[in-house]
């Protein structure tokens, strides 16, 4: 649904140049929720803003729903943008307009008549659970409610794609959860494709099907979340499951990209006569599945057989000492 190839972007400041995007390829499947994480200044916002061409990349192409946006300008680009909704960190609502006025804004701009607008705004507000707030002003709403208005507005022109730059960063944890649940519901009900930027690993864990880790304008890792977690040396796995510092000589990190299977550990002791000592870790719901990741000391003469046994049962085993 979103295909960006070879994106480069350099900002030229007075003294120096900042490379915000350094050859990024992004592929988002239809109906997918795709998260991009990375440190501040990694180039996440620049990437997102390149997708609807708020920022024109220096090189590379962006194709959304089969249309190559990088080849469009002026009126045709504006029309194409209407097929891409955007949600902002600080909501970006017009303080001079009511909730209904804000949600109706994109329709007004694209020339939809008053009566039709009214009806659509009503639908949208019901969709995000704010049916009773149509006449309120943004200043009278809570942060979570404002973001719901922002989401309703982004959906007004029936886009297939929704872009979100830190949409939950200004919200408390409970409100964040409710907004994430709303995004997932919208994806399920409307078949939306969602590309979101976040610095919270929790957001990736809770709603993302795919993810990319960004650093210095490049993707370090990208793909489906569960695949990445099952890949040896995965940065994403390490960020999602921070383990205590455990670089003992006999330590392994065991990742279970499926339901946690505790008896397996006692099985190990019985079969191979090894000492198994769990150092830390945990089980989490990721992309709708429980995934476990543990730091374990495995000691004994038949250690390597024991580890092979784990691998054969579909567990990812990595030596932590290296």
């Amino acid at each position: 649904m979103i295909d960006a190839v070879g994106l480069h972007k350099v900002y030229r400041l007075k003294k120096h140049r900042v490379t915000a995007l350094n050859g990024v390829d992004l592929h988002v499947e239809p109906g997918e929720i795709y998260g991009v994480v990375g440190q501040s200044g990694a180039g996440k916002s620049t990437l997102l803003r390149s997708v609807n061409l708020l920022e024109r990349p220096d090189a590379g192409t962006v194709t959304v729903d089969g249309e190559e946006l990088t080849s469009l300008r002026g009126a045709r680009l504006r029309t194409a943008r209407r097929g891409i909704g955007m949600v902002h960190q600080h909501f970006a609502l017009l303080s001079s307009r009511t909730v209904a006025g804000n949600v109706g804004f994109p329709l007004e701009v694209s020339g939809v008549g008053r009566a039709e607008r009214r009806e659509r705004v009503g639908e949208l507000l019901d969709l995000v659970g704010l049916g009773d707030k149509a006449r309120a002003y943004p200043s009278q709403l809570s942060g979570g409610q404002k973001q719901r208005v922002g989401i309703a507005r982004a959906l007004a022109s029936r886009p297939k794609v929704l872009l979100s730059d830190e949409a939950t960063s200004a919200l408390d944890p409970a409100t964040t959860d409710s907004i994430l649940a709303l995004l997932r519901r919208l994806r399920d009900e409307l078949g939306l494709t969602i590309l979101l930027i976040t610095h919270e690993m929790d957001v990736i864990k809770k709603i993302c099907d795919s993810a990319a880790i960004m650093e210095n304008g490049e993707f370090r890792e990208a793909g489906r979340v569960l695949d990445l977690i099952g890949t040896p040396g995965s940065l994403l796995a390490r960020s999602l499951f921070p383990l205590p510092d455990l670089a003992g000589p006999d330590t392994v990190v065991v990742t279970y990209p499926r339901s946690f299977d505790e008896p397996l550990m006692s099985e190990l002791t019985r079969r191979f006569d090894v000492d198994v000592n769990i150092l830390g870790g945990g089980v989490e719901q990721v992309a709708g599945q429980s995934v476990g990741r543990l730091g374990v000391d495995v000691r004994g003469a038949r250690r390597s057989q024991a580890l092979t046994y784990l691998s054969e049962h579909g567990l990812l085993v990595e030596e932590a000492g290296e």
Binding site: I84, L93, P106, E108, S157
Partner: protein, 246 residues
């Protein structure tokens, strides 16, 4: 010497009346005689200020918008245009009004046919207030949230529409406050315009009050000017409060 007697002395020196109370009574007695002059002058002042305000908005508002949109990172960046506009505005702002008034005399004669009277005064008043209002417009537009403007872009909004439907409405309370400041400045400028025969309350104060030593005219014009400024300010404050949704 008490404060009271000091006040009496000062008033006595100025009015030749026996005491402050008598001075006030004499002033009030004189009011009906002065009223026809005062009423005419007030009308002239309102007439000058009103028209100059209209011209200031007609020219100053687009000018202020351009100062913002042509800036780097604005809707239509044009550094050269902006530098020229900004320089013109600065020149207008740096001239004291009394100098500007004299400097544009020939323009006034060309446009109005005379340099005397309230209509002629509208020319320098407008020229003085346009850059003043333009800067105030610029300042309020700059306070509009960048994210909101960006959101409008993301929704496929034309730049012209962004100015009309996003920037100006979002800045409206600030624009009204700026308009009130401009009106108040114009009232004070209009009194100065009186010095070179512009008519209005300032003219009356100088002709009757200063040149003929008639203090009653001086007090009366001061009172009327204060009333007009207060009325403009209160009306503006009321509007700003009504329009602010933050």
């Amino acid at each position: 010497m008490t404060a009271d007697t000091a006040a009496t002395l000062i008033l006595a020196a100025n009015t030749d009346a026996a005491g402050p109370w008598e001075a006030v009574v004499a002033f009030l007695r004189d009011w009906p005689n002065m009223w026809p002059d005062l009423w005419l002058a007030t009308q002239d002042t309102v007439y000058m200020v009103l028209w100059a305000t209209i011209f200031s908005v007609l020219v100053g508002l687009p000018l202020g918008v351009l100062l913002v949109t042509t800036d780097r990172g604005g809707l239509t960046p044009a550094p050269v245009v902006r530098a020229v506009l900004s320089a013109v505005v600065n020149i207008g702002r740096s001239l004291p009004f009394i100098v500007l008034m004299v400097a544009v005399l020939s323009l006034t004669r060309f446009l109005v046919g005379t340099t005397l009277g309230p209509t002629a005064a509208i020319v320098p008043l407008s020229i003085g207030a346009i850059p003043f209002f333009a800067r105030l417009v610029e300042t309020s537009l700059r306070e509009v949230d960048r994210e909101v403007v960006e959101a409008a872009h993301a929704m496929g909004t034309r730049r012209f529409t962004i100015v009309g439907k996003v920037m100006l409405p979002e800045a409206l309370p600030g624009l009204i406050a700026g308009l009130v400041m401009t009106v108040v400045a114009l009232i004070s400028y209009s009194a100065m315009a009186g010095a070179i025969g512009g008519g209005g309350l300032g003219d009356l104060a100088i002709r009757e009050g200063y040149q003929r030593f008639n203090d009653h005219y001086l007090w009366a014009t001061v009172i009327l000017l204060i009333v007009i400024v207060q009325a403009a300010q209160s009306l503006g404050d009321l509007l700003v409060r009504r329009l602010t949704r933050r």
